[in-house]
Amino acid sequence: MNEEELWNLLDEVMDPEIPVLSLVDLGVIREAKFVNGNPQITITPTYSGCPAMKIMEEDIEAVLQGSGFDEYEVKTVLSPAWTTDWITEKGRKALHDYGIAPPEQTTSDKNALLGHPKEVTCPHCRSRQTKMLSQFGSTPCKALYQCNDCKEPFDYFKCI
């Protein structure tokens, strides 16, 4: 197995809370390489208290074991701190299709500049007429929004 194949293997490991998003697409896997023939994977937490970190680590170990590796290392680094900018295009699409609004990349909208909540597109009907219900959603990485047009509440993957 080469490094590219290792990355492809890791792309099969899904986020425990958002099972359509791989850890690679989430940007949590920072490095994947072979050291003396053994995989060495470096991960970084999305949020300091993210309870899914331990499960992510175990899920990574499980696919490595499944591919016949007995010796490997999964280590955690805090720096540089994870940012939503690391979510890949494929990951953003997966989030959207799953009903979670991906982080808005542009900070040029007037609301954000004035310190108000960002304009977020509804993942259900694509309306821009949405409002924030709470800074905090079902997991630390999400905020809770509601669409003013289709009235559906939805999660927004907040920008950090």
């Binding site: 805090l78 709470s134 905090f136």
Partner: protein, 252 residues
């Protein structure tokens, strides 16, 4: 005092602030005033516990006696905890919790904004991670201060009383001792005296916008940095440490 000892003390204080306040906030789980707020307050608690873990892990490493994050979180006696007194005060009604949180978040935000530039790489890395979350905490407690202060006559009256009652515990956040002096000299953390005027200015601005009065300065509690706590601390620990005291070394 050696730098190593000062750094250990310093990390414990930061870790204890996060652990104890996070523990207090977690008591709201299932009791929040509305569902969104229940989730928000628990998210904040979770972030704080995450900060505590990183800080305790590093503290254990600095101390070099093999103590783990769990040893530091669960197996010290009251006098060995160094959290600021305001972190251990009762949750009270929701306005009390919000006022406590706003005063602390404002402090924590200014402190961690400086720690991002710490000459200690690990401290800087933990701070860079934490500051992104603290920014959200501050935004939330600020919004609630505005909402309750500039809300109904009753909410205004209640949260004004909360701020008045908590005020005498704010001085303790800025007390400096020998460890701080070593940390400041080594460029690891900021001089708290430089943060105080900005903290006052920011608190004053938000309270003014919330149509609240800035409480008058008077006698201030102190003692947290030498481990002297309020009567509430023992009660917190009896619950927080129960499992480790009853079943030493238990893991799950």
């Amino acid at each position: 005092m050696e730098q190593k000892e000062a750094l250990f003390n310093y990390l414990l204080r930061l870790g204890d602030n996060a652990a104890i306040l996070g523990h207090k906030l977690s008591e709201w789980c299932g009791h929040g005033p509305e569902l969104e707020e229940d989730i928000a307050v628990i998210n904040t608690a979770l972030d704080l516990l995450g900060h505590a873990r990183s800080l305790y892990m590093y503290a254990g490493e600095v101390e070099g006696k093999g103590r783990t994050e769990d040893d530091l979180a669960f197996l010290r006696i009251e006098r060995e905890y160094r959290n600021a007194l305001i972190c251990e005060l009762p949750n009270g009604h929701y306005g009390d919790t919000i006022a406590r949180q706003f005063l602390f978040d404002q402090f924590n935000y200014l402190l961690f904004s400086e720690l991002v530039n710490s000459k200690d790489e690990t401290v800087a890395a933990i701070a860079a991670k934490a500051i992104k979350e603290i920014r959200y905490h501050l935004r939330r407690s600020m919004e609630w201060t505005l909402r309750l202060g500039d809300g109904t006559e009753e909410s205004h009256k209640k949260i004004q009383e909360s701020f008045n009652d908590l005020w005498s515990y704010t001085g303790d956040l800025f007390v400096e001792d020998e460890s701080d002096a070593v940390i400041v000299a080594a460029g690891i953390g900021p001089d708290l005296n430089t943060i105080l005027p900005i903290w006052r200015e920011n608190v004053k601005a938000v309270l003014a916008e919330a149509t609240l009065e800035m409480p008058e300065d008077g006698w201030m509690h102190s003692g947290s940095k030498s481990g002297r706590h309020t009567e509430h601390m023992g009660h917190i620990l009896s619950e927080l440490q129960y499992m480790q005291r009853a079943y030493p070394g238990c893991e799950w």
